[in-house]
């Protein structure tokens, strides 16, 4: 508990440094590209176009989802997924990438996963702005439900930071973990309801247990929550069980993560 508190406090104290250093990630990744940072927006946009075509047009044949066009239904969940995916994968490599840099200086090492988070967040805001315009064109209008965005956003950040703390530390020791995580994320994509509407699936309607198992997964919780928020289909406090499941997972991840992080820190010179 003390450990988790210590790590969290470090994030708030070094807020400025995190934000200032976040931009270097991008700069060095896209240094040799002509279009530079535009790729970070262009790449997800191309993906959205593909899913719209494959799922919206071909598979679902433009059938409305929860009363909206497929694209309007896809966007709020998809951009959250895209953000979470790149952050989970980025954070797991963040420590390996930077640890040699900070090994010879005083530096709050626990802020390294946050830097990736701050960096990815910039893209998320851009994507959110673009998709709001598209959603508006497809008939989505602001409603009181949009207030929930604050709640789900906090959920998302808490989950991603706790995950980042665990994965970044393990990846330093076992590099294979990143590769494993990459494959896991492939699976997560399909079972988190990013492009499928599980609510309107014949097989799942017959076996509702499947959806309840899928619901345990935090990615699903956030993606569905974002959808409910923007499409105005439900309030988060209506499902108390989901709230408890989600936050107890976060609590466990955070306590374990900060423990292994601090253990790692006290001897990180040995690991590299």
């Amino acid at each position: 508990m003390t450990e988790a508190w210590l790590v969290l406090r470090e994030q708030f104290r070094n807020w400025k440094i995190i934000n200032r250093l976040a931009k270097y990630d991008e700069k060095s990744t896209f240094q040799a590209h002509i279009l530079g940072n535009i790729w970070q927006i262009l790449d997800p946009l191309i993906n959205i176009a593909i899913y719209w075509l494959v799922f919206g047009m071909i598979l679902y044949g433009n059938k409305p989802m929860d009363g909206y066009a497929y694209i309007a239904w896809l966007l709020p969940g998809y951009i959250a997924w895209q953000f979470m995916r790149s952050e989970v994968l980025g954070a797991s490599r963040s420590m390996v990438k930077r640890v040699s840099m900070v090994s010879k200086m005083q530096f709050p090492v626990s802020t390294i996963p946050s830097m990736t988070l701050a960096n990815q967040l910039i893209n998320y805001w851009w994507m959110l702005a673009i998709s709001m315009v598209i959603m508006f064109l497809y008939g989505v209008r602001p409603s009181l439900y949009w207030i929930q965005f604050i709640y789900y956003f906090i959920c998302m950040i808490a989950f991603l930071y706790a995950m980042g703390l665990v994965t970044s530390t393990i990846t330093v020791v076992v590099r294979d973990f990143h590769t494993l995580l990459n494959s896991m994320m492939q699976l997560m994509f399909w079972i988190s309801g990013t492009v499928f509407n599980f609510g309107a699936n014949a097989v799942i309607e017959q076996h509702p247990v499947i959806i309840r198992i899928i619901e345990i997964n935090p990615f699903y919780y956030i993606i569905m929550g974002m959808r409910e928020t923007f499409l105005g289909t439900g309030w988060f406090f209506h499902d108390v069980k989901a709230v408890i499941i989600f936050w107890s997972i976060i609590g466990l991840l955070l306590i374990l993560g900060s423990h292994i992080h601090l253990k790692f820190r006290s001897r990180f010179i040995d690991y590299i």
């Binding site: 508990m1 003390t2 450990e3 210590l6 440094i17 200032r20 250093l21 270097y24 700069k27 060095s28 990744t29 240094q31 040699s100 840099m101 900070v102 090994s103 010879k104 200086m105 005083q106 530096f107 530390t169 393990i170 020791v173 076992v174 509702p208 247990v209 309840r212 198992i213 619901e215 345990i216 108390v240 069980k241 989901a242 408890i244 499941i245 107890s248 997972i249 609590g251 466990l252 306590i255 374990l256 423990h259 292994i260 601090l262 253990k263 790692f264 820190r265 006290s266 001897r267 990180f268 010179i269 040995d270 690991y271």
Partner: protein, 364 residues
Amino acid sequence: MEKQLKISARYLTKEYDMMKTKSDMLKTLMPFGNTKIEQFWALKGVSFDVYEGDSVGIVGLNGGGKSTLLNIVSQIIPPTSGELTVNGTTNIISVGAGLNLNLTGRENIIMKCEMLGMSSAEIDAKMDDIINFAGDQVIGKIDQPVKTYSSGMKSRLGFSVLVHQDPDILIIDEALSVGDAPFFEKGVARMKQFKAEGKTILFVSHSLSQVETLCDKVIWIDHGRVVMEGSAETVLPQFEKFQREYNKQSKAERARITHESGRSFDLEALRQEHPTEPASYFQRRLYDQPFTWATKLVLTFLTFLLAFTVAASIKDIPFRTAVMEPLTVVSLRSWIILIVVIVAMVVGGILIHNHKERQVRSDD
């Protein structure tokens, strides 16, 4: 005027795990269970004081704990136990300070300075000095990615950024061996300038002549303990004599001595040697402690809550019903089985733990 105490170290210890394989590394991170990994004590209760304006050299054989001590004093790694008070900002200068290869030299300077907590105005003001200090080759390539630099240029750039910080306490770890002779001269001149400004300097070097020119006071550390502390004239000749003696021994013999000495240490024994000192000096820090009981309790509660809610969710029982009548979620028989299993695990865990402790004691 009384000189201000800058660094005060009391009974610093540092324990390392001897990690030979990847799986050992993974084991050390595990929060649960006893892991039988060999321990190595790099520091065994080091105490010293450094006052404002002192320049202190730290000498010792390879593997004697000098670098560990510097890393602890500069707060890069925490000690296992002991008390460290540092009044003022520290800055460690060492070889191989990392640069981002994809960024240009200028961007790297800005990034490193930002990491060290400088404001944009300060960085702008120092930029030209830093670039000029790094030498002509670097000036020509300052706006090109660092991956095009030679290794000498990279280390000079890194060194240049570090010597342009303005700390109260400067910690130098073998850093003057960077680059060619003219650059070395520049480095020494800069150190002397720091000294003239009345800054506190901690200096580690294998070259005893460097230590002699730069330091007034010398601390000699061997096998994790302070052997001698005093003026350069008294300590250095003695150390040189010791070094000559030691080098006569065979390589295997030296390795054995280091290995043995790393194992023969006990925190409790150190505490008993100094009964008048507060017990807090000899307690392990947060980082090296296993989970406390409170944390374990919270973890168990969260796990239980998670399992219970998941069970309720899968059986599709409303939350209120689940809380009021927990038997609907998990039947009485399953409850009993669950409790028996948990109790068995806890008892088993305690037994195994005690058994292992007894074994460790009989090993001693």
